[in-house]
Structures are given as C-alpha cells and as structure tokens.
C-alpha cells in the first residue's frame, strides 16, 4: 500500500511537471512582408508559464520545410551573446529591429520569392529549477527539461516591388484610357 502511494505521488508529480513545462510564444506581427531580396523580422512575446522553473532560450527556427527558393530564416534571439532567461511566470516582449538585432528572428526573401509562405516559428528552450545566471546554478543538478519547444504560427509575404506597382498602375490607366477611347468611338459611330 505504501509503495502504491509512492507510485501515485510519482505519477502525479510527473503529470504536474509535464503540465507546467509549457511556454507561450506570440509573434508580432504573425505575418511579415518585404519585397524580394529584402529582409523582415518578427517581434515576439514569450511567457514562461512554469511556476517553478527557469526558462533558458536555446534556439529558434522557421520550421516549415519551405521551398528554399522563397528565402532563409536567421535566428536572432538565441544567437545573441547574452543568454535569454525567463524566471518562473515571467514574460519578455521585444519588437523586431533590424539594426538592433532584436526580435525572435528575421526572414530574407529570395529575389525570386513570390506569394506567401505559411509555417511556424519554433522556440527551443531548456528548463532549470535554479536561475542559470545565479552563482548556485549547477546544470547537472538543476536540469528539469533538456529540450522543449514552443510554437507560433508565422507567415512571410513577398510584396510586389514598387516597379511592379507602377507597371500595374500604368496598365490600369492605359486600360481605363483605352476603354474611354472605345466608348467615345462607339458614341461617335
């Protein structure tokens, strides 16, 4: 009976641990856009909803096996020199800034990119029971989860180049003009 109770507690603890090991990632904006050959990035908000453990960011990636002709993703959050740690129940919000290299990541559109690519940004993290930045931190003793992932839906839209808009505008004007001409011809016939 005693050992059964022990098992029950162990199972409950495992469930609790699983339930608490979740981060919430939100992208801002979820869909970015830029002209072919240009770069755009995602800002983000990350909540560590684990009441006991510290979240250490270990990487981000654009997870869809995208047609590589569309462009390439660069991890900004995990590649910076200082580590990103969120205390239990803490959150972090950051806008994308190409110059400051802030935000979760950026996408460089290929010169041939056309249309929109939908996928998701994955944020990988580890959980520790002690702040990794504290002096008492021991990664062997305090590791709770070596590799967890939070996802957020993301999109990247290749915007038409200004030249294209101009051409479309000119085409529209020409069409309008030609219709007017036809209509004036009809009325004069």
């Amino acid at each position: 009976m005693k050992s059964n109770l022990k098992l029950l507690f162990a199972a409950a603890a495992a469930l609790l641990a699983t339930a608490t090991q979740a981060a919430v990632l939100t992208l801002s904006p979820a869909v970015i856009g830029a002209q072919p050959g240009q770069t755009a990035g995602w800002g983000f908000s990350l909540l560590n909803d684990d009441a006991d453990n510290y979240l250490l960011v270990t990487g981000t990636e654009f997870t869809l096996a995208a047609p590589s002709a569309f462009g390439s993703y660069t991890d900004l959050l995990a590649s910076r020199p200082e580590v990103v740690v969120l205390a239990p129940l803490a959150s972090l919000t950051e806008a994308y800034d190409a110059l400051l290299r802030s935000g979760i990541g950026e996408f460089t559109f290929a010169a041939s990119a056309d249309g929109r690519l939908d996928g998701q940004v994955a944020l990988h993290y580890a959980l520790f029971s002690v702040d990794p930045l504290s002096l008492s931190f021991d990664p062997d003793l305090h590791l709770v989860d070596a590799d967890a992932t939070a996802f957020a839906r993301a999109g990247a839209t290749a915007l038409p180049e200004p030249g294209t808009w101009s051409l479309l505008g000119i085409a529209g004007l020409l069409a309008l003009r030609s219709r007017r001409k036809i209509s004036s011809l009809r009325s004069s016939a």
């Binding site: 250490l56 960011v57 270990t58 990487g59 990636e61 997870t63 869809l64 096996a65 995208a66 047609p67 590589s68 002709a69 995990a78 590649s79 580590v83 290929a110 010169a111 041939s112 056309d114 249309g115 990988h124 580890a126 990794p132 931190f137 021991d138 990664p139 062997d140 590791l143 070596a146 590799d147 992932t149």
Partner: protein, 800 residues
C-alpha cells in the same frame, strides 16, 4: 431427315447457349442452303452463285460459286450493321472444290469501309493446298470488329486460284465475346496450396501438393509425369481473368531437390479457347529456375482476347518436374487521374512552364486528361524527329506530329519543337548516294547532305508555320558534342561529311523560317559533366563568334538518383549564363533513374517505397535549384507523362523516373515538385531528450520524431559537433561514431540514439552550441550536399 438433323443441331446449340455456354443470341449467321435460296449471299465480283444439290456437307444442298476470273471473286454476305464494333466473332465455312479442280487455298476475308477508307481484313484461311475436290474442309477464324462502326462490312470467300469453282456449306458467324467492359468480378486468384490443390489440375501432368519445399507456409504444388514441355499445373481462369482487363500475375517456381544442379526455363501461359479456335499466349516469359531457391515469375498482363474459356498454366522448356507456390492473379484497375490534386504547371506558374512529351496514345483518353491537367507545354517525344517525318526521301509523314500540335493548341498548351538535326533516328538515305551507298567525304557529298538538311528543315518548318504562334522553342541541333574528341565534336555522319557546317546551316535555316519568339536551342545531355560543359562552352562560343543565331541551350537532364548533384546543376547553369549573357536555358528532357549502378528492380512493383521517397525528395531538391536560379531556367520539360510510358523501362529493368505512377497516380515525386510538405517523413524533427552519465562518458539522448505524413525512411544522425560559447575553455570529445543509422520511423513514431561525450576538463558552467545534422531518404531529405534544406538539431546554451 438430314434437314431434321440440322434442326436438332441448331436446337442443341441453342440449348448449349441456354445452359451457360454461348448466349442464345450468339448465332449471327447460320447458312445451310437447305431452303433452296442463296440465303442472303451475293456475288463478290463477277461470279455466278447457285443453290446446288450436287454436293452437301450436311443436308442435301450447298452454295456453288462458278465463273470466277480473279482470286478475290467469290460468294459474299453483307454484314453491315449486323456486327458490333469491339465484339469478337468466330466465322466458319466448310468448302469443297468442284470435281476436277486442282487443290488450292481458300480464305475468309472481310471488306470493311470506315471513315471513307476501305480495308481488307483476313479472317481465316486453309493451308496452301488445303481445299480439294475430294472432301469438305473447315475454314474458321476469329474476327474482332474494330472501331469505328463501318459504313460497309462484307464477308467474302476467295481463293488463291483465280478460277476454281467451289461449294460452301454450313457457314456461320457466331458471337464469341461482346464489347469488353468492366469485369464481372475483380476477385483475382490466390493459391498457396496449404489446403490441397485448391482447384488446380494437371494439364498433361500429374499434380499434387508436397511439403518437400514451400515458398510460403509448408506446402507447394508439384507437377510430375509431364507429357510435354507444355504440360504442367493449370487453373481454369475463365471467371478470374476477363477480356479487356489487366492483371498482375505472380508465381514462385523451383525445381525439386532431385533435380540437383539442373535448371529449367519456366514460364506462365494462357490457353485461350474461343468457339472452336484455340490459341496459346505467354503471360510471363522464360525464367531460369533451379533447385536451390524459389524464383519469382511476375508480370502485368492485359487480357485482350475474346474467349469462351481461359486456362492459366505453368510450363517449362523440358519435361522435368517442377514446383510452384504462392500464385497470385490480381486485378489492375484501369488508369484514372486524380482530379482533386493541384496542377504541376500551376504550382510553378511563377517560375517557368512545365512540359511533358506527346506520343501516339499519350494525348487521348485519361492519358490526355493527365497532360491537360498538369502540364502547360508539350514536346513531341519522337514524332517530329527526322526519321518520323521523312523516312523516305521526299515522303513526309506529319499525321502523328499534327495530332500532337492540334492537341496542344486545342488545350492552350505551348509547344517545343524537337528536333531538326540529330545523329540518331535518322534514315540512312540522308547519308547515302542514289545507289544506296554510304557517301564518302567530299565537297559534293557535303553539298548534297547540306542540301538535304535545308530541304528537310524548310519543309518541316513550312508545314508547321500555320501553328507557329503556339511554339516558343525549337531544338534545332541535338547532341553533337563528344568530349572524348580533341575538337569536342561527335564523329557522326553529319560531322564526317560536313564538318560543323550542318550545325550552322540548321540554325541559319531555322532562323530564316521561324519568327523571333520561337527561340532556337542546342540540346544535349550530361551538360553538368566538366569535360562536356567545357565543350558546350566551346561550341556555343564558336557559334556566337560565327554569328550563328542560337538563342538557348537545352539541358536534357536525363539523370539518376545521386548524379549529378543539384549544386552541380546550379553551377553549370550559372557558368553558361555568365559566359553568354542573355542566353536562354531550359531543362528539356528531365527524368530521374533509380540509379546508374543499382540496385535495379525487375518489376515496377519491386521499387520500394523508400526509393520512391528518395525520388520525391530528389525532385524537390532539383526543382528548388531551378527556382533558385531565378529566371535563368525558363522552361522545364519532364520526359514522360507517367511511369507507364518511359524510354528508361526495359523488359528486365523497371524505372520510376517521372511524377506519376503506372496507374497515373501522384507519387512522392509529384509532391516533391508541387508540395514538399506532403513528402513521406517531411515533418521529421530532432530534439535533445536527456543528458546523463559521468563527466567522462556523458550520454546525450537524441530523439527523432516523425509527425508524418508517411514514413521517414532511412533516418540517420550524420554528425554531432560542440562549439564552446562560455565558461573556462575545454575540449570535449565526442566518442560516438557517425553516421548512426536509426532505420525507418513510421508516422507518429519516435526513435532515439545516444551520443557519448567525454567532458573531462570541462567545468559545469561551460556552455556550448551543439549542431547535430540528421537526414532521411538517403540524404535527399536533410543533407545540403544533395540540395536539401538542412535538418539539424541546433541548440545554443547547452551544458554538459
């Protein structure tokens, strides 16, 4: 009394029909001439027909033909509107020559007029002198009336002798089989002989189950006492295999141990009985079988023969005993296209047109539907080549090419022309003199060949001139490079007789006749090979230096899994674009063989799903490369509509080189082009699960999860590197050897492996970035060396 006998015979035939033999309406014609009339028969040519009592095979009367002055003349019967196109009939007549007439051959023939054309079909014949005045000879044959319905159909009886008079009696036309349609059942046959002979019987042989050896289970079927090579185990498949349907046939064969080292050539055959006509047909050709191992006989067989009975049997080239086991006959549904999947061409609309080949039979029915749905460019596989258009001097044949052009225009597809000057599929006369002798190199020969070239190109391009708006490219010259030659030129008859003038002449002639929007191409294979590419540079540079109007280079891209790499394709295209600014480049004949060096597959169904997955990712990676070239490739043509028609598949080797399978269904190759997220194992990902063990032997367990869709085949961890980013400097040593093979991971499943690292000398707070590349599908999924986006577990801020 004899008339009564005839009536009883007719009644018997009727009863037979009612009892499950031929249907009651099977008898279309039954002429006995017992009523004294001609019974509908009339003269074919200027002959005299008489209802005669001078001779009769049965009853008292027959039909006598006299006054013949030509072989084709004889009695005839108008069958217009009495036979159904697509149906098969047995036609029979008994003949006997008039007394004193020398023996001759008598034939049953059909004069058929349809679509304004009259054909003369052979129905049946006696032997050369098989008909005499001494007795009656039966002449019979099967006649399948072809579509379309004829406007006139006349059965007539002729002879080799122009003058022989002959009697005819008991003539009949009997329906053997109606229009082939859906089979009454598609159950097929499975025989494993675990519960007896399972309906098999000995055809001139003794059969029995045996436990001496079995391919599956514990028993097989042994055939002994074989009366001939044709004798062996047999099965009545009249209600298993049906006319007009296709079947996949598989059987396993082996010789008994008593055969020792001997071998036999075993085959699978069908005996077809239609009315009273019997014929024999090979289903699976000879396969060498010994006593040491079971050998598979397999093939796909289309039953295209009317029958009243079909017998499936196994025979061999000798009379020795043999074993069979695990016989399977499976119905293969007729091909149909999937209407609810995206169009290949539409999916690439932002990049380039995607074309395929046209061929006889490839632009009609469901095959044509497939082309229309998925492609927006068409090139003739063979019908625009010299040998097809002008096999004989001055005799041009455009019907097949015209049909392809008309199809493309009607469906709004663009056209590539292919090809004007090539060294293959060339009629010999082009390089011969008027006496059929090979031309020797001389100024006169050169002038003659160039004249023929100009005449051919001019005729062809003038012929297609009314449709030129639909053409956008023309392969003018094909495959003239031989990198083994110092001057890079293939020693073809063209070159030996004209030097390189035939190339210049072809381009100049074509340019003079085609408008500028039809770009002119030099087309070749293996253009990624370094020596070939160097020659290609040299050839194009020479053409441009001479002012020859070349617009583009066609890369055939007949490639195989593994060669060349997508990177090599990328480099090749860029090198030509750099050397010749503004030159157009197109992929003109792309297909992907399973391999140049094996493994090879005898049958299409033998190609495993893992290989199809590799092909799928390969197509993805090559198309990624084409798109990344950002306009340098302006058209891609796939050299096959589906795997059911490809020049790469031979009798002994199956290939799956294009986007759709032999049933016209989308393969992984299709998804690789259209939507790679649907490829098997596309979602494969990796993570670090645990870290455990001592500092000197720390084990990081890596998990590989496959959320699908489909199985991730041949997953392997390719490497593992640590780069220190924090803490006291140290040098961890990875002890695991790579690659680590994890095998196939089913959709929804996970596989794990441990990586052992010696962190001796590394403090606890030493931080690392880890990169663990992994891949699947033999690297086509995940390995950048094969043009794939990388699959890597990449994590920073990692402690030991």
């Amino acid at each position: 009394m004899l008339g009564l006998i005839k009536s009883w015979r007719a009644m018997g035939a009727l009863l037979l029909g009612l009892c499950g033999g031929l249907p009651a309406q099977a008898q279309v014609v039954q002429a006995t001439w017992e009523d004294g009339t001609l019974q509908g028969f009339g003269p074919f040519g200027g002959v005299t027909l008489t209802n005669s009592a001078a001779a009769a095979r049965t009853g008292t009367r027959s039909l006598l033909t006299t006054g013949r002055t030509a072989g084709y003349m004889g009695p005839s019967l108008n069958l217009t509107n009495r036979l159904v196109p697509g149906s098969s009939y047995q036609i029979t007549a008994w003949v006997r020559l008039a007394a004193g007439t020398p023996a001759t051959q008598v034939r049953l023939s059909m004069q058929r007029t349809a679509g304004g054309t009259t054909n003369y079909d052979s129905v049946g014949s006696s032997t050369t002198t098989g008909v005499t005045d001494g007795g009656w000879t039966q002449i019979t044959g099967l006649y399948a009336l072809a579509d379309p319905a004829p406007s006139s159909l006349v059965l007539y009886i002729e002879s080799s002798s122009a003058t022989a008079s002959f009697y005819v009696d008991d003539a009949s036309v009997t329906l053997v089989s109606g229009v082939p349609g859906l089979p009454p059942n598609t159950t097929g046959l499975t025989s494993n002989f675990e519960s007896g002979t399972q309906g098999w019987f000995g055809r001139g042989a003794t059969i029995a189950t045996t436990s001496e050896s079995a391919h599956g289970g514990s028993q097989a079927l042994l055939a002994t006492g074989r009366a001939g090579t044709w004798a062996g185990p047999a099965y009545n498949v009249t209600n298993v295999m049906f006319n007009g349907s296709t079947y996949r046939v598989t059987a396993w064969a082996k010789l008994p141990a008593s055969a020792g080292a001997a071998t036999s050539r075993v085959r699978i055959s069908l005996q077809r009985d239609a009315g009273t006509v019997t014929s024999y047909h090979t289903v699976v050709g000879d396969v060498t079988v010994g006593s040491s191992a079971w050998v598979r006989l397999t093939g796909t067989y289309q039953v295209a023969m009317a029958n009243t009975a079909l017998t499936f049997y196994v025979e061999s080239g000798d009379t020795n005993p043999f074993l069979i086991d695990d016989v399977q006959i499976s119905y293969v549904p007729p091909p149909s296209i999937e209407t609810n999947i995206p169009s290949v061409a539409q999916s690439q609309l932002a990049y380039f047109p995607v074309g395929t080949i046209g061929y006889n039979g490839g632009i009609t029915g469901v095959q044509g539907d497939l082309v229309v749905k998925h492609f927006n460019s068409l090139v003739s596989e063979n019908n625009m080549k010299w040998g097809s258009l002008q096999a004989q001097p001055g005799v041009y044949t455009y019907a097949n090419a015209d049909a392809e052009v008309a199809f493309a225009k009607a469906k709004g597809m663009k056209l590539r022309g292919h090809t004007l000057a090539w060294h293959e599929q060339m009629p010999a006369w082009v390089f011969q003199d008027a006496n059929g002798q090979a031309l020797a190199p001389s100024p006169a020969s050169k002038a003659l060949v160039l004249q023929r070239e100009v005449e051919h190109i001019t005729h062809v391009l003038n012929h297609f001139a009314p449709h030129v708006a639909s053409f956008y490219a023309w392969d003018v010259v094909n495959e003239v490079i031989d990198p083994a030659q110092a001057d890079c030129m293939r020693r073809s008859p063209w070159y030996l007789l004209t030097g390189t003038d035939f190339i210049d002449t072809a381009f100049r002639t074509a340019r003079a006749l085609l408008p500028a929007h039809v770009k002119l191409y030099y087309n070749d294979y293996s253009t990624t090979d370094v020596p070939k590419l160097a020659c290609l540079h040299k050839l194009v540079a020479g053409l441009k230096a001479r002012g020859v109007p070349i617009d583009g280079i066609g890369h055939q891209m007949h490639i195989s899994l593994g060669y060349p790499s997508p990177a090599a394709v990328n480099n090749m295209v860029r090198s030509l674009a750099t050397a010749f600014p503004g030159i157009s480049q197109q992929v003109t004949e792309m297909d992907i063989k399973v391999s140049d060096n094996g493994p090879f597959y005898a049958g299409y169904e033998d190609i495993p799903p893992a290989v199809h997955a590799q092909l799928g990712y390969a197509w993805r990676n090559y198309f990624n490369t084409f798109r990344q070239l950002n306009g340098l490739i302006d058209s891609v043509t796939i050299w096959g509509q589906a795997d059911n028609h490809t020049w790469l598949t031979t009798g002994s080797r199956a290939e799956a080189p294009v986007l759709f399978d032999t049933s016209l269904k989308a393969k992984p190759a299709y998804w690789g082009v259209v939507d790679p997220s649907k490829l098997p194992g596309a979602g494969l990902n990796g993570s670090i699960a645990t870290k455990a063990g001592t500092q000197a032997a720390r084990v990081w367990t890596l998990n590989f999860s496959n959320p699908g869709p489909g199985t991730a085949y041949g997953v392997r961890l390719a490497g593992f590197t640590l780069r220190q980013t924090g803490g006291t400097v140290c040098t961890p040593m990875v002890r695991t050897a790579f690659p680590v093979n994890l095998g196939d991971i089913a959709a929804g499943a996970t596989a794990s492996t441990g990586v052992t690292i010696d962190f001796t000398g590394c403090p606890a707070l030493a931080a690392f970035t880890v990169d663990a590349p992994f891949n699947a599908a033999n690297g086509w999924h995940g390995d950048p060396a094969k043009g794939s986006p990388a699959l890597t577990i990449s994590r920073s801020n990692q402690f030991r």
